[in-house]
Amino acid sequence: MRRSALALPSALTALVAFSSSGPAEAQETMSQIEDFDPGRAILNEKPWFDPFRPESLEPLNDALGDGRLTEEAALMVLERNGQHLALSTLQMSYHHVAQGDLAGEPWMVSF
């Protein structure tokens, strides 16, 4: 593959399970970008969107109970040490990047 596959790192082979995924399972990755063409890139000085850096969490059930989310609402869920963290996919369609820590370990989701 021209860019990624030949140099794709061993981390990309990591099998990630809903209940056990996390940094401990992800592996070190390293490769060189050989064909990034800055001539067709848009590189801004300031963010287009405010990243989401949650300072607190709440039970998902609460948002269902007060109507902020319906049962069908799309979520992105990650896991650290048996704890599950959910982000509203539609909220992420604004922020694009969310980042924080869970169970003492850093996480980030891009969308």
């Binding site: 990624s4 809903f18 940094p23 990243p51 609402a73 891009s110």
Partner: protein, 240 residues
Amino acid sequence: MICNTGIGLIPTVDGQVEWFSEKGLYDGLFLMSDERTGTYWNHMTGEAVQGPLTGNRLELENVLHTTVAQALAQDPETQLAWSSHPRAVGRSEGGGGTLTGLLRRIRGLPEIFPATLGAEDERRPRMDMGIGIWNDTNARYYSMDAIEENGRLLLETFEGQRVLIYYDPTAYVLAAHYTDADRAWWDGDVLRFSTGEFIEDGVRYADDGSRVERERPLQVFTRWYGFSLTFPETEVYGEG
């Protein structure tokens, strides 16, 4: 988001947490930038592509695309990170929506996107929806159309491992799981495997009803243009 490449990344470089935001566009995909060095990063591969940290790569992990009901079925204690940013709250008005619904509202690329695209792969339409899976040596794309035409599931072999690609009717997303089964079929909205395992409401169970972990290849529920520009030599299910 136009490409819908939701994925998890571990935001550390040499053990130090870096803080990221979206600051650019390339191949019609947003580029992230870290605050400390201003390096730009590909958000699907985690590669640093421009700036002082070029050559580094963030570790990747899958995030689970699911619904509130499924997340609570998996873990009733699931915690929510809820944004109070007005624009984020506005996006989720009405209780949020499904991922497929969100994608189907997006019919084309915004005006500034096309100039950032490399040579496009015409094997599929630019905005085709599908799922891309990959490992260190190969990548493969399955269009949603192909999966629907095959009864919403495909049992495939990818890099020597059997993998089930399916459209989850309760989460409204495409998903991929490794499996030892040689056959799978729908029983209503329950996905059953020849091993006796089954997936119901997004939760995978053993034949005795106990929950089992779902091992998954790296995957994105995505648009063709984004996946094919990121993995130019990707295989495409049903083509060659």
